[in-house]
């Protein structure tokens, strides 16, 4: 088990290292120095306040220090939490801008991932090898999982918010409110949160339901299931085992899906104007705010790596084989 975690952590650290390196490498070696151009543009509109940005730039991308020095400086700045200053929200530091947005994104992602995984697995397991339920769950699941996230979001925003007027269309909370610990504000938060959450939930739910349905069918054909049937075990017991065993690949599937889920959250936020990372990225793209984009990138990488690690831990808790050190587990 120790080996299992050591391996995992090594992979995650290496991935983080690769991501940081890419993040430094790509802008550094782009022809025409786009970052410098961005700074020049900004200094026109904010001539006096540009000094700290210049310094950061020279430190990590500038030409007056040797390459390896720039790279080390980049790491040094990064480890102090400095990712530069946002051009779009000048002069706010990138880290601050992102930290303001992250809670919104997490508030969408975490509940939708957990609930869709739970509900999808339950429903998928019920449907497997049960004719009429299967005939409804299967097409519905495939339709949902084939739906682009932003389209579900668009349809929900249009039908439930604009036409029916049941939910607000855009924003993280009502325009006329200031963030505070009041019931009114909380209520507004929930109302704005629900539709984006529902979009994410629905698409992901379809995928899990189908995945579980298919896995169970395989499990019911497995040798241990056949043996139990030969020994006259009731269907119920065999299905219970099959469900439990099918959860393992579903857990690995969850790890594999993290990237897609995050992407889904980003576009959903854009549709609903929800103030998370997705909308931030959109604004950064539109304002050519490179530092902000790069910061968002690193935050997403870190988030995904942490989530992967959490899944690894859960995997060990669920799969006895990883605990006894006999197999490699999820990867």
């Amino acid at each position: 088990m120790r080996r299992y975690f050591a391996r995992k952590v090594a992979i995650y650290l290496l991935t983080f290292f690769v991501a940081v390196t890419l993040n430094w490498l790509i802008p550094r070696f782009m022809p025409g120095d786009p970052v410098l151009r961005m700074l020049t543009r900004t200094s026109v509109s904010n001539p006096d306040a540009i000094a700290p940005m210049r310094e950061y730039y020279n430190n990590v991308f500038g030409l007056d220090v040797p390459l390896w020095r720039q790279y080390l400086n980049y790491w040094a700045e990064l480890l102090q939490g400095n990712m530069g200053i946002s051009v779009w929200l000048f002069p706010a530091p990138v880290t601050e801008v992102i930290l303001d947005a992250v809670p919104y994104t997490l508030a969408l992602l975490i509940p939708s991932i957990l609930l869709s995984w739970y509900a999808g697995n339950k429903v998928g397991a019920l449907a497997a090898r049960r004719k009429w339920l299967d005939n409804t769950v299967l097409p519905l699941g495939y339709a949902l999982t084939a739906t682009p996230y932003m389209w579900i979001a668009i349809v929900l925003a249009w039908s439930l918010a604009i036409i029916a007027g049941v939910f607000p269309v855009a924003g993280g909370y009502s325009f006329d409110l200031q963030p505070s610990w009041s019931l009114v504000f909380f209520n507004s938060l929930i109302q704005h949160w629900f539709l984006p959450f529902l979009s994410l939930f629905l698409v992901a739910f379809g995928g899990w339901a189908i995945g579980m349905r298919n896995m169970i069918i395989y499990e019911l054909e497995a040798d241990y299931a056949n043996y139990l049937e030969a020994l006259g075990a009731p269907r119920r017991l065999i299905r219970r085992y099959a469900f439990r065993n099918a959860l393992l690949p579903q857990l690995t599937g969850l790890a594999l899906q993290l990237g897609v889920l995050v992407a889904g959250a980003l576009v959903t936020e854009i549709v609903f104007g929800y103030p998370g990372l997705g909308r931030l990225i959109l604004m950064a793209i539109q304002n050519q705010d490179f530092f902000l984009l790069q910061g968002a990138f690193l935050f997403i990488v870190i988030g995904v790596l942490i989530a992967n690690f959490v899944i690894d831990i859960v995997y060990v808790l669920v799969d006895p084989r990883t605990r006894t050190g006999m197999t490699g587990g999820a990867a």
Partner: protein, 321 residues
């Protein structure tokens, strides 16, 4: 059946959902088909069952119908998809089947052009991902040892890197100007789960008698992979490609929607981007934003359903009698 299948599944099954595939749509558990049947007979059998499988036939018809629409329909127009040709914001009519945008562009024309890009990006992106994934999987699984370790590491890194985030950075600096280059980027980030699954299956196949036999007869590694191992996984590889195709389509739609799509090309994701950007929701121009999403859902959904059908064709155990 094959004693080795379960062992292959242990590893292969978790790859069910792909990084690029929006769902664990098909358990990638299809054990290699027993090598006993000669190839021609197997192909004939598969075709026989495929043509009788409702899911395969139904899904296939939908996909082909959209393909035909995307290929043929644009030929009947003498104006471009972005030209302002009609009245502004008008609903579906005999002349403009899917109505017009707030600028008077023909939504149906945009839609069929979008279908075209959809198939192109699916084919190229899915194809490239399949190529990379299979190559890495075969080599890692067949050669083993240090090569396997290194490739495994690479696979795991690309696997956990969130592809969209990387693409955003790449696009910002490098720019994605055409559908093929978009497909290239998508392909480069979508292969890891394929490599993993193919590796596991190759691993189990390489110790089988017929592979030993080929090796004893002096066949080279490349030839063994191509002639002995790959054919025994062909059904599985084909299904993998279908999943990658669907994944690429959804991925491209996401990029296009964020505004990171190729320039000058109409796509279904870009249509949705435009519609949201120009307040089509608030203005109630449903004919503008409903068709593109429906189109993607129909194509990708049909592909997935086809895949379940194919799974039943290739794995008789899954067929319900």
């Amino acid at each position: 059946m094959s004693d080795l299948a379960p062992a292959a599944r242990e590893e292969a099954a978790p790859a069910a959902g792909g990084e690029a595939v929006s769902a664990p749509a098909v358990p990638v558990a299809a054990g290699p088909v027993a090598a006993a049947q000669p190839g021609a007979r197997r192909t004939r059998d598969a075709l026989h069952f495929a043509l009788r499988n409702k899911k395969v036939v139904g899904g296939g018809i939908v996909v082909l119908a959209f393909l035909a629409l995307g290929l043929i329909a644009p030929l009947f127009y003498d104006y471009g998809h972005s030209e302002y040709v009609g009245p502004q914001s008008s609903g579906p009519s005999g002349e403009y089947w899917f109505g017009t945008t707030t600028f008077g562009q023909d939504v149906f024309l945009q839609f069929v052009h979008g279908i075209r890009s959809t198939f192109l990006v699916g084919l190229l992106g899915g194809g490239l991902a399949a190529l990379i994934g299979m190559t890495i999987g075969f080599v890692a699984g067949y050669v083993g040892g240090l090569v396997d370790e290194a490739l495994n590491m690479l696979t795991n890194i690309v696997l956990v890197l969130p592809a969209l985030a990387v693409l955003i950075i790449l696009h910002t600096y490098i720019g994605i100007t055409s559908v093929p280059s978009q497909a290239l980027f998508i392909g480069i980030f979508s292969w890891p789960w394929v490599a993993r699954a193919v590796r596991a299956q190759t691993f189990s196949l390489r110790t089988r008698d017929f592979v030993d036999l080929a090796r004893l007869s002096g066949m080279g590694s490349g030839a063994i992979i191509r002639r002995e191992i790959a054919p025994n996984m062909s059904s599985y590889l084909f299904m993998t490609f279908i999943l990658l195709f669907g994944g690429s389509v959804l991925f491209a739609a996401t990029l296009d929607f964020i505004g990171l799509g190729p320039t000058g090309v109409m796509s279904l994701g870009l249509m949705m981007n435009n519609a949201v950007h120009w307040s089509a929701l608030q203005l109630g121009l449903w004919w503008w934003f409903l068709p593109p999403g429906l189109g993607i859902t129909a194509i990708v959904g049909a592909l997935y359903i086809m895949n379940v059908g194919l799974d039943e064709v290739f794995n008789p155990k899954l067929r319900e009698m």
